[in-house]
Symmetry: C2
Subunit: 252 residues, 2 copies
């Protein structure tokens, strides 16, 4: 069994730990975290844990799943002849010095309380050598079949794209909920529409799935809509409507 | 059986027709449309159709499912002692003159090619009298159990909210796809994240589900993101990030 050490005990590290404990090809020999409090979780009962880098054991792969700003500093303290990877979407591979650096990035939002089904989660991999890439692929195989080779620039673009489809989309949901609450309509009325918006992607590209007053250049409806919105919502409505119109401008 | 006549053969009318044909409590006696071409669809083989308002038969309910701008004009030509409803999200009930007007609004995006499962679609109802509202509820029951009494102002707010969660969300998906295509990353990598963004709503309100660099005020990441975007995307990124920060400002 290939030995793995996990650095960190935050949301991502927590779920990686859970999954690695079940592996038959990889052995999670130790988990490191700066503070010991997190190790009180039952998950860590039967795993060696440490809060001291000096007590770190030997492993073939070190997975660093901690905050972006601390990765470089921590990587320096690990054995330089072993494969050292981080799990960050926005950090380049090169932030880890040395010839055996890599990236092991599961593209999903994690929260500790919610069980994760890794089989549906894409892993974006990067390594300096073909050999290390193969090792990472084997490791990723313990989690999912959705494995992608993604270089650092591509991963950065994916990370921005993720902000659009997750953070910003969620904020649009929030604004819709605020409107519902203001006009005393239950937000649940919108849930089937939200689900269908996403289900459509299985059959149509977002470009082809676009509908609505901005696309139709239905200025009468758009003016009526703006009259119902607060200043912040008006700004969002205007920018996104303009962007839709510019996108489809050639067609109109 | 209560007699119903449908005015229109567009996307919404098409699916309403399909469902009403199966009803055992309501009888779809006739479908009217301005032009006959649409009636070539097999759906209309065993239904009486007409392109002349003068040939309209008698019914207890007339459902007008045509473009917003034509509703008022068409309603005038129908028997004023019968229940006349439209299916529009943005038009007030009052656009139909008379004492027996109403609204029968299924909140969903429809396309002819895609089969509709009405049981998951909320119907927003409005009528001038309790009696007519009851009649509309019975009719809506043929489609769904998700029935809501929504007045004209509430429905208008719902219609704007629907633009946020459907049209604008889809445009964010489009921008994410454009980024993926520019950096040669398959868009499918983002689909599980999109699904999870929506699934989270079953457990968390959008306000509580918010994550990301704007919420954390992680200016370093936000600057790196902006550097990857085109002018249009930068505007969207900036407005939505500002709106997130203003929304959670009290907390930060």
């Amino acid at each position: 069994m290939t030995k793995v050490i996990l650095i960190g005990a935050g949301n991502v590290a927590f779920h990686l730990t859970k999954q690695l404990k079940q592996s038959i090809h990889f052995e999670l020999v130790q988990v490191y975290n700066r503070s010991a409090t997190v190790f009180n979780d039952a998950l860590y009962n039967d795993i060696k844990t440490t809060t001291s880098l000096e007590d770190l054991e030997e492993a073939a792969i070190y997975i660093i799943a901690i905050s972006d700003n601390s990765i470089a500093h921590l990587a320096e303290k690990l054995p330089q002849n072993k494969l050292i990877v981080h799990t960050s979407g926005s950090m380049p591979m090169g932030i880890i010095q040395g010839d055996r650096s890599g990236v092991f990035y599961p593209l999903q939002t994690f929260s500790k309380a919610k069980t994760v089904d890794f089989s549906s989660i894409p892993f974006c991999l990067e390594a300096n050598t073909d050999e290390d890439l193969l090792l990472l692929k084997k490791l990723a195989n313990e989690f999912t079949t959705k494995i992608y080779e993604i270089d650092s620039v591509q991963r950065k673009s994916l990370h921005v794209a993720a902000v659009f489809v997750n953070n910003f989309t969620n904020h649009l949901f929030y604004q819709a909920e605020a409107l519902c609450s203001q006009y005393k309509v239950p937000f649940e009325v919108l849930l089937p529409l939200i689900t269908e918006t996403v289900n459509k992607l299985a059959e149509l590209s977002p470009k082809d799935a676009q509908t609505g007053p901005a696309l139709r250049n239905d200025t009468k409806t758009m003016e009526a809509h703006l009259a119902l919105l607060n200043t912040k919502q008006q700004k969002i409505y205007t920018i996104l409507s303009q962007s839709i119109q510019e996108t489809y401008g050639e067609k109109l």
